[in-house]
Amino acid sequence: MFVSWRWISQWVDTSGVDPVAFAGRFTCTVAEIDHVIQVGPGLENVLVADVIGVEDHPNADKLHIATVDLGGRTERVVCGAPDLRLGMRVPFVPPGVTLPSGITVREGEVRGVRSPGMLASEADLGLSEDHTGLLSLDGCTAPAGTPLLDAVEVSDTLYEVDNKSITHRPDLWGQYGMAREVAAMLDKPLQPLDLAVTLGQGMPVDLQVQAPDLCPRYLCARIEDVTLAPAPVDLRLRLRRLGVRPISNVVDATNLVMLETGNPLHAFDARFLHGQTIRVRRATPGETLRTLDGSDRVLTANDCVIADADRPVALAGVMGGEESEIRPDTRTVVLEAAAFDAATIRKTAMRLGMRTESSARFEKSLDPALAATAARRFLGLLLQVSPGARITSGLADVGPFGSQPPAPIRIATTSTYLRGRLGVSPAEMADAWIDHCLQALEFQVDRQGDAVTVTVPGFRATRDIRLAEDLVEELGRHYGYQRIVSKAPLIPSRPPELPPLRRLERDVRAILVQRAGLTEALLYGFDDEKQRTRLGLHEPTADGGDLPRLGLRNAISSEMSRLRRNLAPNLISAIERNLLTGDGRQASKKGFQVGMFEIGRVFVPVPDRTLAPHEQAAVDRGVPALLDDPTAAATYLGRMSPEMRLGVTEAAARATPLPWQPIRLGLVLAERLGGGADGAKTAIPPQEVTERLFRTVVGALEAVAEAAGLGGLTVTRGDLSQPLDLLRLPVAAPDLGATWLHPRRHGLIRSGDRVLGVVSALHPAVRQRLDVPAEVVLAELDLGALLQGERLVVRGGAPPTHPAVTQDFTLRRPRTDRVADLAAALRQVAVAVLPGSVEAVQYLYGLDDATGANPERALTFRVTCRAADRTIGSDEIARLVDKVSARFGVQAAPGDA
């Protein structure tokens, strides 16, 4: 949207105001200006010329030589424009002038003919993009040789306003509305629009509004003896400056009035209105209309059309029909000036993908009163631009607005309230200033002391201004927000809350970065279907189907059509990419390790079955829950307007529980294995690598558990094909049947008997599909569940008085024996020998033979004992060694007791 400073200066005295300097104030008061454009500079030396001779160029078919009269002298210049003709008036650019378009005119020869100057197109002069022909100055009355800037309306300052900043202001979609704001800013009067026009008698056509809900007002008039011609040069130039292409006097008049008032108009050729009839109605489903852009439009019952006796002739408020458009031989014009329902226009324009200057305005909720202003302005203008035309009808005015005009909006408030919201004192903003400011914006003000009743003008009442808060904005922006002295809020101070989960997130992040050396990633909430298919990642149900994921109605692509229910798939894709590229410090080659984690939400649809109590608690019930208690609901709804109350109760009725959105921790650690051949990818990764990665991940998780204040974690294998007792799982634990989990190289992570998540080597079937040979270990757990694990109670006791004694044991065991089981068995023996004195049984290290041929491995454990009342003697240790030997058939490791 452009604002023409020259145009608005017709109604406001802007003398002495520098429009460029004023732009900053305008941005802070009215609407955001993207660019300030000055038209005129660079055209000072361009002259008006009359073409008094045209001859062919001797050496070129497409060029001519024009002889032009410059008032007292003539010049012969070469011209290539196809529309050059004798008697035409054109702009002449003398040599040495550099135009705004960047062209510098030089005196020189064109194909052997001397050419001291140039005849210019609009594009040459920087007035538009049009370089198809000369700028025609026909109709300009200034004598030849007059400087262009003095002869026609060219120079101007344009504000290009960001349309987004006026979506809520239907009144600002016309120059006059902008002028009103500028007048208020300058504290100058605003000249009224001249609405005087002599009308004829009778109805212009047989007119009915059959859909009054879609069209509150429809005005119509008939104009005969119209002569189609170009509009006067000044009006053509004005349209150009505001970005509209001139077409003919009639069409240009509709566009000029739309730009001026903000109300779009439409002109029909009366010959093509069957039955001289206009019906404003809903389209019948399937009905078609060829709009004047040449496209056939299929309509629905939600579209509003203008129809004649037989068929639609215009898509109301969006675009006219092709057949009834104004043509060069049009003699009788039927004018439409109407108001349409904003939502209807918006939906039609969106559905058909045809946002026009007209629909953009109607969808802002225009004031129906404006339609009459626009109609009168058009009729006045048309009589000027088409001499001889006659208005042969009255101005028909049909629709509910005319018969039952809506009551004006009145806002009762107080100066105290208005000032209070801005935070200014009566000394800073007096009552008189408030009244004056609102009146300048055409509000009617009725004051009784502090109390004030403000009547909203129609052009602000359709949507924009309803409440005292809206008046606060009017006063604030015209007072100047920069003048408001800032004040610290007075609010009782109270220690702020940080939800425990949020705190845990921070602690977990710090530990994984600082202690585990992992890199944090944040990934999309959408699954990547392409990667899932390629790598075979999915979450099967027991019967072979897929667990449900939340689907999008309007996905950007089919590859991003569902929300993730586990973090692992996106992490696996990401780790694969990073294994291929390295991490920016190291290239990826054998031994390259990359580890990353994500803390983020996953989305799990609420199942159809009845929810268990712990699941029910996790469901967000939103609005309906608000309305559960009738007393509270009455207070809640009682404060709302009827319209809003309806909206809220309808929303509540529609509402379904939100899906579960637990915050998970996902962690993945990978090491690149040797070679690139398929052989390396299909081989079982060295056990040393798997064990090292696995232990690193478990170590990181133990540190996380410690940060959460848990006593410890246990990691033991489960049967992933069997569903676990759901009550032992948090509501949305990671899916334990997922295809990326390794059935024999994983562990369920438990605190007490509650499963928090899982740690696992990547399933070999997935691993072998990776584009790079690597071992990958990943873990995923529910952060919320971590908060519900068994807490460690911290106590500050005195240091022990007696020393601890340690004894190491090396057990040679079958490789299928688990360290945790052996440690537990060892503890059992130790406790039997030294009741109450066993402090710890730790695994120290294991020795395996590298070939894997030996079915046994050697595992060393350390038993630490301490008694509260004595130093444990060597005889007691000797008994321990005996018992352990008897149980496991081994000797104590030497040299420790």
Partner: protein, 346 residues
Amino acid sequence: MNQATPSWRAELHALTQDWLQRIALAADLAGLRELEVASVGKKGDVTALMRRVGTLPPEERRDYGAAAGDVRTQVDQALADRKTALEQAILDAELADDTFDETVPGLLPKRGHPHPLSLVQAEIESVFSSMGFHVLDYPEVESEFDNFEALNIPSWHPARDMQDTFWLQDGHLLRTHTSSGQVRAMQTFAPPFRAVFPGKVYRYEATDASHEHTFHQVEGLLVDRHVSVAHLLDSMRTLLSAILKTDVTVRLRPGYFPFVEPGFELDIQCRVCGGKGCSVCKQSGWLELLPCGLVHPHVLRAGGLDPEEWQGWAFGLGLSRLVMMRFGVPDVRLLLSGDTRFLTQF
């Protein structure tokens, strides 16, 4: 007086010389310790001399005792001297040694890398937290009510087009802004309160270097009695100065957002040119930073509050954009790429 020197004198002399020589030759402290045990230890040679006194004729005993004591004194002295010398030598050797390499790298494991969004978010949370704001977290899959209806954006409202929305098959949506938490916060906390809620938001739009369908925002909300534009100005200036770590000049200009009235675009004075106009601020001297305003009475009502009694201010700050400004990130899509070549810089 005695012409014949008793035989033990020569013997004591020889013994003394022998020990003094051996002690002088001791190469290290361990060897010296052995000599000490062998000489003056419980079973040592020198200790044994004293025990021999009883075997001598009585007239010689006194002289012998004195002489043996003298031997003991000399040997003790020699041991002590040699010990001092050996210790000094060790000290000298350590101080003279020049082979230690202080340039070998440290031993702690290398730290990892937090995500830049987490870094900036943590900073913002701590600034707000220190000023009494709760730090809250709300769902990403939202109801139409909380994302639109409650924020004074009914279904017919054009503002719904301004924020192209991802709709889910179950009728919910992916929140288009963190403002969806405003009414939730009002329903949770008794006023007055102040809170920020950062998080991921989603827009249905094509991506390029400066547009992403998933990005991060932080919402700020304050509810109190008698809240005015003057308070908003003060809070914004204070908070933004703390976040941007420099005194900022702010200005408000009219901006339209259905859930605030009056609504503003807040600009900060360009810090590159100090407001004179440069290419960064497109010659205007100002940079658009965030939308804000006084909470619309409809929103307060939807939150269960009486707008006659309670008012508030709210703002929405683009975290992703702030991260890009802070670290000079050229492409917003890098943030959620999961590319460690990008992430390990932080």
